[in-house]
Symmetry: C2
Subunit: 341 residues, 2 copies
């Protein structure tokens, strides 16, 4: 098989008796070019099957119209929707998207970020891994004048753009709803507390209890129950308490709430009558379980769009925009698993 040489602008120039620079100008839609020459070049380019070489162009221009996205997992509804939202905007701007997943591992996250820096991406959009420690890799991004936008799970200390949910408010609202429905012994399934989002959700839970003068009980707060399996384990233990909870707020995720639901259902506990359940994230399945699960919608797709728009606003703005935090208020979605009035 004969390896066909790529046609370059020089090949076109040679054929048309032009300078390469003119060809370049014609192809890049420059104003300083004769309309006829331009048309001729464009026509010849097609004939010769010319294809722009982005690598060369980017190197020369010192820029790469590509945005890197690092998320814990691609195949999670929340993240894939954020990515879809980002893509919606970047596509219309002609930007490419490089996607990496950290698998919740710090080392892998560092790898990903470094790879993106090596590739000179214009911006890194990241939601940090649960297993996370130092932030040198993110500081590195900033040092190299690459845009950095954190979302959802953010490192507060880093002075970057941030797009987050108001987790505390959402959590407060959810727990208040539970109280309003008459639940009094409300258990909390917590996520890893090194992540700010889970600290905030816990804060909302505590605030709600305080507002309603409900005692905070250590035995009802269960750390690190953020998968379906861990949620199930936690539920089994909670329901075995001498004085079991009458509601469980799985602040970590809907998967965790699903674990709660299954264990409770298997024990023949009536939901929502005997046990209220509230999840977090509005995964599609929460609408379909029986009973359907009350949860919190994070407007994931919209978040993605907001993030990407923020980037372009920032780079295109005349004045340098100061890092700011955009907070999107999540929405409590009340379903059958907590509606007992």
């Amino acid at each position: 098989m004969e390896r066909q040489k790529r046609t370059t602008i020089y090949d076109i120039a040679l054929k048309l008796n032009l300078a390469a620079s003119s060809v370049s100008r014609a192809l890049s839609n420059s104003s300083k070019i004769n309309a006829e020459t331009k048309a001729l070049v464009l026509k010849t380019a097609v004939e010769m099957n010319y294809q722009h070489n982005a690598m060369a162009s980017n190197l020369r221009k010192g820029s790469n119209p590509t945005i890197g996205v690092v998320v814990p997992r691609i195949n999670q509804d929340y993240f894939s929707n954020v990515i879809a939202g980002i893509e919606e905007v970047t596509y219309s701007r002609g930007y490419s998207l490089i996607i990496c997943q950290s698998n919740e591992q710090h080392a892998r996250e560092v790898d990903c970020v470094n790879a993106l820096v090596n590739q000179h991406v214009s911006c890194v959009i990241i939601s940090i891994a649960a297993e996370t420690g130092t932030y040198g890799h993110l500081q590195q991004v900033l040092d190299r004048q690459i845009g950095l936008i954190q979302f959802d799970r953010v490192v507060d200390e880093l002075d970057t753009f941030k797009v987050i949910n108001n987790n505390e408010t959402a959590s407060l609202e959810a727990v208040s709803h539970l109280i309003e429905q008459g639940y009094r012994r409300i258990a909390l399934l917590e996520g890893p507390q090194q992540l700010d989002i889970f600290r905030q959700r816990k804060a909302g839970y505590l605030a709600a209890l305080r507002q309603h003068n409900i005692p905070v009980l250590e035995e009802l707060m269960y750390e690190n129950a953020w998968t379906k399996e861990l949620g199930a384990v936690a539920t089994a233990k909670l329901l075995d308490l001498e004085n079991p909870p009458d509601a469980i707020f799985a602040s970590t995720s809907d998967f965790s709430a699903l674990g709660v639901l299954e264990v409770a259902a298997n024990k023949g506990i009536q939901i929502p009558k005997e046990l209220g359940i509230c999840g977090y994230s509005n995964e599609p399945f929460t609408e379909l379980t029986s009973p359907s699960i009350t949860t919190i919608d994070q407007y994931s797709f919209k978040m993605g769009k907001t993030i990407a728009e923020l980037y372009f606003e920032q780079t295109e703005g005349k004045a340098q925009i100061k890092p700011k935090t955009i907070s999107i208020k999540p929405k409590l979605i009340v379903r059958k698993s907590t509606r007992r009035k």
Copy 2:
């Protein structure tokens, strides 16, 4: 804010009184370099905060260790899992992943593929959009010696590597199961027939009926019912027939099956007793509906891994490997929506 200039290998060379080529050799782990020099360079590189420039390197080497993936939608469980599977493999090889979504639109798909070609990716992995016509953009990929692997929805005519599911067999198995459960008037919800996967699924349906000597009825085959909404519309019409079906095979997707389920449930029809329902794809929610939905698992994550491994096998193999098709047999997952014996 002072824009800091990047350190290049020349900067390091200058500082150490070496030639740039030696620095390059040291950094790229070449054998033709003194161990001490190498150590010195590596140390200095860290000190000077050197970062490899992938754009320059790729240009020079004429290759880009990046794989482009084009899917109809990122935020669909099946596709995001395939992507996760691909990522699993490419990450371990140090390859990046550029993700594009066609949104089922042909024009957008062409855009995406062109962008990937411009970026000189090593390989394009694609599942084509429903709204599709010509295949010039894919031929282009081949012409430029870029790897092309089609998966799931493939264009048969193009001589490329393909990773597919055996849709016909799966479909045959599903419909046979329905027949075995005593269903006799089995309706089919079809996807766009320009896509081979939907033609194959229909073929499986027809084959199953034939094998069991069940008449094929036009009125029970409903074209283009491949979203939840369209599935609902189709179901409403089917159930209004003088002689309505006793089972519906939503061969297009689980979303479609969900539409069927909702309409039937609203009409007070008993599932599976009065109506059997079978979907396609094993979306997570099918396990959670009531009743749970019988469906077909496509091993999406595994498919992703297979695809990526196929690419590396192909490029690294000594001998040029001929394009081949890998068919992964999907698995029928029988759940309550069809189990009435």
